[in-house]
């Protein structure tokens, strides 16, 4: 990894301190060129990972983190870009594997990637109204309509938040049998008549 050559060629790129691999903060609009340069000139031929990070108190709010791997030199490099909802250039024309990672970052955080060939959601369904990995999204989830309107019309069902009582993932709230000791933790707060 020739860090000097990279920071020289892209003067807005800054080297960051990191415990495990060379890390750079890359200017948002230069990201695609930096990735292309690293692939063509420094042998980083495999995009290991691309993901978003939400920093609600920062401006710009979202981080996009890329991990590139060189299969010939056996080394990693990490690139940080930052953005609000203004777009980050898509790298999927350089590494087609980024396609799904970018779709996931859009799905989970609402980060948009300019020039993305297929900007759809990937893990949630297309009509889902939220971006679940944003920090303000509650762990239990938020009530939303079912993805299939025809099913919803017949059953009247909705996608409901997970009941959080007695641990995050008790499948049904309300009355539970005494055979499930973990479900009884609300009994701490109940007032019982003294025997």
């Amino acid at each position: 990894m020739d860090a000097a050559a990279l920071t020289q060629k892209f003067s807005r790129t800054q080297s960051l301190k990191s415990i495990d691999m060379p890390t750079f903060a890359v200017a948002n609009d230069e990201l695609a060129e930096v990735v292309r340069y690293l692939r063509d000139n420094q042998g980083f031929d495999l995009l290991a990972d691309l993901c978003g990070v939400d920093w609600p108190n920062r401006s710009p709010r979202f981080g996009v983190v890329l991990h590139l791997l060189s299969t010939t030199n056996k080394e990693y490099v990490r690139l940080h870009a930052a953005c609000d909802n203004d777009a980050v250039p898509s790298v999927s024309s350089i590494h087609p594997g980024a396609n799904w990672h970018e779709r996931e970052a859009y799905d989970m955080f609402g980060i948009t990637f300019t020039g993305h060939p297929d900007p759809r959601r990937i893990l949630m369904w297309e009509s889902y109204p939220y971006h679940p990995l944003r920090k303000e999204f509650p762990l239990a989830g938020i009530e939303v309509p079912l993805p299939a309107a025809d099913v919803a019309a017949v059953t009247g069902q909705k996608v409901e938040p997970a009941p959080m009582m007695g641990g995050p993932f008790v499948s049904h709230g309300g009355h539970m049998s005494g055979a499930e000791p973990q479900a009884l933790d609300q009994s701490w707060n109940e007032e019982k008549p003294k025997a």
């Binding site: 990972d49 991990h67 056996k74 087609p96 990937i122 893990l123 949630m124």
Partner: protein, 408 residues
Amino acid sequence: MKTTKEISLGDIAARSEELRGENMTLNMGPSHPATHGVLRLSLELDGDKVIKCDPVIGYLHRGDEKIAENMTYNQFVPYTDRLDYLAPLANNVAYAIAVERLAGLKMPERCEAIRVACCEMARISSHLLGIGVYAMDTGAWTVFMYTFNEREKLYTLFEELTGARFTTSYTRIGGLTRDLPEGWLQRVETFCDGVLKTIDEVDRLLTRNGIFLERTEGIAPISKELALSYGLTGPNLRASGIPFDLRKDKPYSGYEKYEFDIPVGTKGDCFDRYLVRMEEIRQSVRILRQVIKTMPGGAWYAEDAKKIFLPPKAKIMTKMEELIQNFMLVTEGPQIPAGEVYFEAENPKGSLGFYIVSNGGGVPYRLRIRGPSFVSLSILPAIVPGNFLTDVASILGSLDFVMGECDR
């Protein structure tokens, strides 16, 4: 004299183009035996030929990354079992090492050796299943019975070691749950002998089997360039001819101490991916034997693990400091320094990566899971079109994915 008029083959082809019917859209999955879980492929068919493939994933999305942000580092260990649920031991190890790197913990040799044994047994277990169901997808039932027989023995060994057959949660951040049980290594040795015989048997059943060859050889070849550009890892990358293996190239947990070879394919077709997995089982047995032979003594947890492990129960009940320590660990979690780390381990399905951002404290700020199956499936739109519908089962089987890890 009658004249013969020449009809060019092009004209005939053009006429057959006129007869071409409408394309048909076929949903394969989410409940289909060849999609190994809940993958849905939205296929566009021209007759029997696939002309477009759009994988629809997310049916098994449980929000593991969101859950991780809401619990302590220790509490997340059982969730890693449920990523690649065919190799939970290897997932546990990958997660533990990622957090340990962030915390700056160094593992003693015995712990590392036990972890290597865990990873290799997980690899054998995963590949046995991979090959068994792959053969079944192509119409060979028998292999599945042979390989599941061996997996059963492995599960018995896992049960002895961890107390669970399926969801093992064996490693802890800073060490392991417990030391090896008495005589366990000998039983692993016995298993090693048995599994090699089974693999030879499978070899005889499949490798030169005409039907199997017809269904796999030359199907969906992935070139080196394509494999790299899509970020394939693990056996799928190596089958395409790239000798990259994190155990060799970025050794962790003491893998540099063991001798083993990396099988590499040439054509990257479905058959090569099968061959690579077969050989990897043999190499894993080789590593296991070395681990058994050289198993070091000493501690199985790190010196600093006291800051992460719960204190012994007897001490909690009698000593003030341990009681406080226990309380802090349960309520706040182990204190991990601020920073970021990315660690990939060579899992059976490819590189399983954990990217952890910590602001300090006991809960990760962001925990990203890079599942190899997610990446393996992203290549489908590039390799499936042009193949027949029946080949889709072969292709899916050869990629050896698991939806738990893809959807997270």
